[in-house]
Symmetry: D2
Subunit: 413 residues, 4 copies
């Protein structure tokens, strides 16, 4: 899709309200494209006033500008991600992509009934976000085009980078919010912050270069440990420290606050494989997800037997990747989510952990009716439900195949 193909047509532009949003909205409007902007309210911790974005977008030429309230949807998807422990390549909680899924789905729903040709976004032509906007839109509205100015040679010729955009905005008197150059760029929502690019591109820049916005670094954490208790019923958190939850959004707000002040989930460094096949470096702040995910993991530890764990681990890894790549709504992800949902039904219990300067440590898991941990069977003491002499037969049978393999020349040590 090229800007000339869009002349006289309407595009739905996903506007975060930053420099790109101003530039693109104005540039497209100037080229004869009718631009309606949609701004997702995802509880961005770095954004005081989402509503003002709409005003500014109209000033940049948007014929209409909407704010779409999506905090609850994001909180719900965050919990689904926790059910699957759907991280990417280890520690990353996929918070940026969770936001993209909720944003595209929410905007497309909000835009229902309006006529438009394409969804448009300001993601660059190198990153994951452009792929996510594309795939999620393709999956949800295959009839729509996706227009990415940063992949349009005409736009690229005009705007080599930030400097030209700032100049453009200034010369056109556009209401930029904060035109000063950041040391890195940040994607923000209720579930966390994703910092990348700029000075973070050098692997000689340590993770603590980032000034945390959702808490403090471990070294600046509270001087004393703090205990947190979460009660889950069939996988869903229902109480925090014994108090019933008003909403899942408020749960994450509280967890971000608690975990953040102990440096939990703050400034997580990663070098990751982007969808496009190159490595990139990110620094993440996801205090609430980290805390809740850890607590849920402790519940899974007592609930999943080895076989169930095999299925869970597969689906967890699979979903972590689908989420990262924008395929959460695809058939494969649906199937894996069905499997995960079955395991979540058994995740009832009350988990207490202790936070201290970046550490989350186990205190107890109680009231978990589906827990497989049975002290009597676990015990090394004789008696109880376990007949030690049975183990003689067990180990002999288990060892038989090993002995056959050995006599047949299979073993190297």
């Amino acid at each position: 899709v090229n800007v000339n193909d869009l002349k006289g047509q309407t595009v739905a532009f996903c506007a975060s309200g930053g420099l790109d949003s101003c530039t693109i909205t104005h540039w497209l409007s100037n080229r004869g494209v009718n631009v309606i902007t949609f701004t997702a309210d995802l509880g961005q911790p770095d954004e005081v006033d989402v509503d003002s974005i709409a005003t500014r977008m109209r000033a940049c030429g948007a014929t209409d500008a909407l704010v779409v309230p999506l905090r609850d949807q994001l909180a719900d998807l965050g919990i689904e991600a926790i059910h699957a422990q759907a991280r990417y390549e280890g520690p990353y909680w996929n918070v940026c992509s969770l936001g993209r899924h909720v944003t595209v789905k929410g905007i497309l729903r909000e835009a229902t009934g309006r006529e438009f040709t394409a969804l448009s976004h300001g993601a660059t032509g190198r990153g994951n976000d452009q792929v996510r906007f594309q795939i999620i839109t393709n999956l949800l509205r295959p009839d729509l085009g996706v227009y990415a100015p940063w992949r349009d040679p005409e736009f690229l010729t005009t705007f080599g980078g930030r400097e030209q955009m700032i100049e453009y905005c200034v010369s056109h008197g556009l209401p930029l919010k904060d035109p000063k150059r950041a040391k890195y760029s940040t994607d923000a929502n209720l579930l966390g912050l994703t910092h990348e690019a700029g000075e973070l591109e050098s692997l000689s820049t340590p993770a603590h270069f980032v000034e945390p916005q959702m808490g403090v670094r471990p070294i600046a954490g509270q001087a004393f440990p703090e205990r947190v208790t979460v009660r889950f019923v069939e996988g869903w958190p229902v109480e925090l420290n014994g108090v019933a939850l008003a909403s899942r959004t408020s749960l994450f707000e509280q967890l971000n606050c608690i975990a953040g002040r102990h440096g939990v989930g703050i400034n997580i460094h990663m070098v990751e494989n982007r969808f496009v096949g190159v490595k990139s470096r990110g620094v993440y702040e996801t205090p609430g997800m980290e805390l809740l995910g850890h607590a849920y993991g402790l519940l899974l530890q007592v609930v999943l037997d080895r076989r169930a764990r095999d299925v869970f681990e597969f689906c967890s890894n699979f979903l972590g990747r689908q989420l990262y790549e924008g395929f959460w709504y695809s058939l494969g992800a649906q199937a894996a989510r069905e499997a995960i949902a079955r395991t979540a039904q058994l995740a009832t219990g009350t988990v207490t952990v202790e936070l201290y300067r970046g550490n989350v440590s186990f205190i107890e898991v109680v009231d978990a009716p589906h827990s497989l941990y049975v002290e009597e069977y676990s015990s090394m003491e004789a008696g109880g439900g376990f007949n030690h002499a049975d183990s003689e037969g067990f180990t002999r049978v288990v060892g038989l195949g090993a002995r056959v393999a050995a006599t047949r020349g299979h073993i190297r040590a």
Copy 2:
């Protein structure tokens, strides 16, 4: 195998030197079994004088008692485990099982040339260790029997538990080292400590109930962060803080000391699925493994592309389980280790991390010739080796299948 089958024969008994060792050695000798004890020197941090164990075992009736020096072998296997990131069910570094593999292999080698009918050990009939002793012996010496008194109904009738053993030892004047009842039992070697049983069997006992022996709890860690630099060449650590390593054993001794004083890898709680199919609870101290494993993981992050990562992850999980279950020398594990070895060949680089109260954080990875992280390609800026306009074709092709799926009714959101 039953004690009566062994009358007049020789068994090689794996003696740790504790209460079980004294009791079993004496009891077997008394029943007419010729007992030779073998004690592995695995650099147990809780054992000052391994050699004295042999003296005590002779006093308990052993016809011969040997100490087998196995520290270097354990250190080497520990590094192989790190190459595979071969943890079990998440955080556990398999240090107990690493010790069992080295012990059984080392003892069988040491015993070469001696005539004996069975390997014997003091592991109970409920745990993993009995399975490991059995399987490793079956794999390495399928002609040998394995005799486990704790699965022999005759032994079980005599000795219900600790009390009867202590009584037995006292009444026979056996040289017990430390007969007082511990609050939990500990398996120790150079790579770490495994605490379980006793009061730890209650999930209401928090992890910090354990008094650490290899360091301090995070809260008691040093007041200031400390940086550690490890240089790896083809997967093998060759320098620590710029100093060439004297030996791998000394590497772990130093790493245990450094990480331990910062509370890294100390008192790791787990509820895990035992081989026999029930859950058990352990608390682990593995400071050196945790630190080295984390550092190596940072190197893998820059070296493994997504496809290689798929193979690596599979083999890592697989090997973590094989190690846990005593199948490290089996054909499947050999095959997976070959795959891991190929990835290790690319793991050259110098990794610096910072330790602070339980946290290990990234400082830098340098001098890594096989790193796939290329700032130029990673950069979000236009220019460089990446043509942004190419991404238009890329995302359109990638999205085509998504659009087909959507039009064919595959999508749920």
Copy 3:
């Protein structure tokens, strides 16, 4: 569990009606155990009159003897297995284990309300069936014991093998049906036959040593090909050759007949890994399962994209093993079945295949609304929905990571 523990108590014995059933029922009754026999009617093709088994069991001492009609349940489970393509180690359709699951579940339901201490069965102490009886009972009725005479030393001492049992039955005048020695043993139900043991234990006995009972060998198949059309709706077969199905049981009866006369699914040889860890050899007849499974597979080919296929393949392999090992009702299998069920919902379409002397070949798949095969996109011709020039960007982006890997010394060729 030992026979003496059962004196004066009641056991529910799973009676197939053969030599073992007669012997065990009588022997247990004689030892003071109250035996109620349950015989599953699974549509065994080798069993003309299941009801007569009850009469004979009473004559052997059973205080009550019931026939449990389970054909429909078996047919349903068979189709669930086809949804998952839940074979074991390649070609085996798990028909014996499907029968065991249905049998144990059906008998336990039938026995509801009766008081009994243990489920008992005549499976030997070496095979898979003993494990399946044990596990399925443990999962469905953890309060019940499982009594296996072939693992009871007292029974084993009395009955070394077939000869002693025949002698025992003859001397006690028990109504044996067919006491002559078979060349191999056969487990039979509507879904297929499992032949093993006896002369089949030699790997020098070719698969065609087995005289097929559900059809003919390929070489004796019909002289002309025959087309078969199955219509599936959301995974469930609803029409055969254009005729609506009366029942799933009758579907399998018809498919067995059609496929059997073309030698499809007849005398399938396998050397497989038994649960107990040793290899065994089986020869299988599963004509209907093979035909239906193949047809369903052709539908999956057009419905599953690569991502969905990854999930499907994992769950398929996992469920094949769970089924084989008796864990179909376990949590892990439930989760995997949920994933499979999602894929089955898209499996609507009409599949036509041609049968000829052991071959099943593709004729067409039509009326499949969720098929991803779109001639327009598949076409190599220019035009249509696919812009060839887009591929330039696509391949350049895809190849970028490859080029980086190459320049960083990753490649060996």
Copy 4:
């Protein structure tokens, strides 16, 4: 890359000698590009005289034209694929992609020392082959460009399809070999034929629409079965029917002939997921691969225990996809191949199968020193190496976890 970028430069063009080769060679030369053609001799069964291609390419304007002998390399890679059973999505033996890997590697080696800017090929912009040419070149020679006329808008404008190319060739007097329109297109080499496109694009065209070139359809197979014996030593076939093999190339020639006359591996239908994410339909002839692969699979059946099978299966699936996608030389594939190589070392034995009208059936596996099939252990009879009473302990221990799960509400049936 665009044709104008190449003016005055040299490209290495992979020429099969068909319509595309003639057209592209001439068109590029006419545009001022210096074209050297390389034609791989892969033992194409449909190509009598590979050398004449070079002559024709020169007549089309090539400044030089070489034939690269690659039959042995292809045969070797074919056997490596068999070691891994590296099929794609079930039945497809990846023969086309095996050829592409050998071709690109062989041509790049042959071209060493010559100066050229890009590798060029005639694959279309929709299929897999364009991706394979790109990736394999990127992996082996990251400094080279890859030029695909079918993705160059300038070429696409001139040549909409076959008709324009034929017209172009005729009007320029180019030596076309066989300009008549085929009903489908065929890629051919020693290991097999890949038919697709044209009339095969309709799923209403049955597989037997293809007229086989490497044998006959099952129905036209020989009237009597034929036995074939292959001796493998450490995975490598060394004897066929008791005769030592002259070369691996001749092995495939013989196997193609034998299997082909029995309709084995002929006209295999598939709907597969292309790399670019859409489904396509292929019909395959791979008689020798199918026969050899089946025989090797029978050897694996007796050699791989369950654990080794898990690793094998993973690597097999992984490598099947890497091969299909052009990533055989990548790091991930190298690692997986190391694992497979370990299993191949145990694959020594003599396998006899019987061929009859599309069927390959087991006759025997002998002289396999690493076989785990031990009649004595497999036997259901009492005695031998297996103590039936041990199974009581075994099943009780195995069942313990099942009982715990059941009492904790995990089970659904």
